[in-house]
Symmetry: C2
Subunit: 247 residues, 2 copies
């Protein structure tokens, strides 16, 4: 058996999230269906770095699977792309060491969140940008973001639907970048709870709009109460950008 | 009655073309349905600068319609956007003179066609760029394009399905611009026949790839035979960019 590590991009617009569901098209479902074709009907389970929600995109999701197939490494890329739909792209394929695990071995992850500003929504970005047509103070948003960096219990910024007991995570950096009519948020952390990036973005945008003070963020964090944080920004502005492993 | 002139953008991905059809969602159909709501159920016909094919997008389509409504001009923009779906955006609304006609008064039109190069299709551009993963000589393409500028009978570059008798048109300019992994074609002319931009792009790309000589284009043009030209590039790479009128 070989362990294959694969880096993919996907447009989340037409998926019902990552994880296989009883109903609806999912990213995991489409990938496993494709890999099953390569294995003449035998089901092969894949293990990803983590799930992504409905409408969330990826520029660098990682998964692994084990295979008895003797396909040469350089042919795996095309073999996989051939059995995947047009909204999932294979970016890199490599052979991993036997004990590599796409979820357990994650060192850090980067998510990016994109906001379209201005008066009118751009039809060509409607599936990839959160349209937020309000005056924003980027200075206040940066000040708010800086308050919640570091190692904390992020219960306030986590969906109640989580199945994780331990809510302590480390955020290494949050960058907020203005580019023409867009805002780009870059989050790097050792891991993120369910909806965490989206709730952080929603709350920071409320600071930017003047509905909250930048200093409130530390109070929200300390409350460990989801109700104290802001709205969950929609999934379609979010991209799983990069997953980092040792070596 | 007032004559309202409207500039719109649309993402053509989920439309069955512009013109109302017995089956399928069309741009004209969605707009007329929306305007009908504003007129309490009375159907109002719109007149556009021209049709666009299935999957073709617009950044600056123009249409007009007549209305007895006394909505102040500054409120028309929001009124129209409210009744239109999220893949059609109102860009500008103005009151036109009584005898303005969105089709008959066109002075020139600009179409742009976008090609994605490189080895792998980008999932996020798959509905907006023609993926053409071949080595291309841009110099040869520019040379080919320059041969067919001017006033000619463009029968060779027109779909047989056209309903136009007169195939003489004037192309004022063709620019071919390289930008990172993309090629952008800009066509300005007094009007374009059915599929004309797409057949021109398909033929010029075949020159770029070395399957035709740049000098062939004038022979293709003079043959007045659609069979002599190249393939019809797909609709999803094409944008109706701008429509120009006198004044």
């Amino acid at each position: 058996m070989k362990r294959i590590k694969c880096k993919i991009a996907y447009d989340g617009t037409f998926f019902n999230g990552f994880q296989v569901q009883p109903k609806g098209r999912t990213i995991q479902g489409e990938i496993e269906k494709g890999i099953q074709k390569l294995h003449k009907g035998t089901h092969v389970k894949i293990y990803a770095s983590g799930r992504t929600d409905t409408f969330v995109h990826a520029k660098g999701q990682i998964f692994h699977f084990d295979t008895p197939l003797l396909i040469p490494l350089e042919r795996w890329h095309d073999a996989l792309q051939t059995v995947l739909p047009s909204d999932i792209a294979v970016l890199e394929v490599s052979e991993a060491v036997k004990d590599f695990h796409a979820r357990f071995d994650v060192i850090s992850k980067e998510y990016r969140y994109f906001v379209q500003r201005g008066r009118r929504m751009d039809v060509f970005r409607r599936h990839y940008r959160y349209f937020y047509p309000y005056q924003l103070s980027v200075d206040n948003m940066v000040q708010a973001a800086n308050q919640i960096l570091g190692t904390h219990d992020y219960t306030s910024f986590c969906s109640a639907k989580t199945d994780k007991e331990d809510k302590v995570r480390t955020i290494y950096s949050i960058e907020i970048i203005e580019k023409e009519d867009e805002l780009e948020f870059r989050f790097v952390g050792d891991g993120f709870l369910r909806n965490m990036v989206r709730i952080l973005v929603g709350t920071i945008l409320e600071v930017g709009r003047g509905r909250r003070n930048p200093e409130d963020l530390i109070l929200v964090l300390n409350s460990r109460d989801r109700e104290q944080a802001g709205h969950t920004a929609p999934g379609h502005g979010l991209f799983l950008w990069q997953v980092n492993y040792n070596n």
